[in-house]
């Protein structure tokens, strides 16, 4: 193949490889979670009951919807519907902001109750509980950073669509950014039951 033409297959392959590294990054947290869950099932159960199911479930729906918009935006740009693509991308970014806002409410409520890393309440409590909340903050914090990065990437992509740099013929960048966004969603699909629902 000539070196000049754009290789969208290669670009997607590279993106998937990058997504694997993200999976394994969160996988590292998952290793710790699974080990400590087997060691402290009771404390994890008690900790999980202190998390707000309404916040968690709402955020799940918000993220799934954002993922739908992202997936639809790929269909839209391939069919040449520029305005629709921009609308759907805005929808995704909007969902990301809602997600972060809910996360903010949730974290502040926890902080208010004296539950934050290294807080006197957690140090005084049973060992497993401190571990549970440390993992909770670690996972959701790391995930939140990815939501922020994903939102920024989405905005950048929207600008490129607006300028016509990304169009019905050349849109692999949009595809790759949505792939990243779906990964953020995938991680949450596991975080939600493991922290909010289990035990």
């Amino acid at each position: 193949m000539s070196h000049a033409e754009k290789d969208s297959f290669g670009a997607k392959l590279g993106m998937w490889l990058f997504l694997f590294t993200e999976m394994l990054l969160f996988g590292g947290v998952f290793i710790l979670y699974s080990v400590y869950l087997t060691r402290y099932p009771k404390e994890f159960g008690l900790g999980g009951h202190q998390l707000d199911l309404v916040f968690g479930a709402t955020n799940t729906v918000v993220l799934l919807t954002s993922s739908l918009f992202a997936a639809m935006s790929v269909t839209a740009i391939k069919r040449g519907a520029k305005q629709l693509t921009l609308g759907l991308l805005s929808g995704t970014i909007g969902c990301a902001l809602i997600f972060l806002f809910i996360k903010y409410l949730e974290w502040s409520a926890k902080f208010h109750h004296g539950i934050y890393p290294n807080s006197p309440k957690l140090i005084a409590g049973p060992p497993g509980e401190s571990i549970f909340f440390s993992l909770y903050y670690l996972s959701t914090g790391l995930h939140g950073i990815h939501v922020i990065i994903g939102g920024i990437l989405m905005t950048w992509t929207a600008v490129m669509v607006q300028k016509g740099i990304l169009n019905s013929a050349d849109n692999v960048t949009l595809e790759n950014v949505t792939l990243y966004w779906h990964l953020v969603d995938l991680v949450w699909i596991f975080i939600f039951p493991l922290y909010y629902l289990i035990l």
């Binding site: 290793i31 997936a71 269909t75 779906h182 699909i189 039951p193 629902l197």
Partner: protein, 93 residues
């Protein structure tokens, strides 16, 4: 090597989204029962189905060449190996 591009319809994507919402509701319901350890496995199983749907449709994996599925399997297998190896220590200490 090259393949014709497959464009997913809005209807199909919406159907996947509905399925994902239903499965989310199902996880919440299942974990309300007293299942003990099985709760973890039930929740993980449903989460795996959900992520399977996201990967297959939202992420187009179903329509990508086989290479992509092979390397995805390699990555997941590696992660499973890391977790499994750790448990040889943790479970039998």
């Amino acid at each position: 090597m090259e393949h014709t591009e497959h464009i997913l319809s809005y209807g199909k994507l919406t159907a996947v989204w509905v399925a994902l919402l239903v499965l989310t509701a199902a996880t919440i319901m299942v974990t309300r029962f007293e299942l003990g350890v099985w709760k973890v496995w039930a929740a993980l199983a449903i989460a795996s189905v959900k992520s399977g749907l996201v990967i297959a449709f939202f992420m187009h994996m179903k329509y990508e060449p086989r290479l992509f599925r092979i390397i995805l399997f390699v990555a997941l297998f590696t992660l499973a190996g890391f977790i499994g190896g750790t448990f040889f220590d943790v479970l039998y200490r």
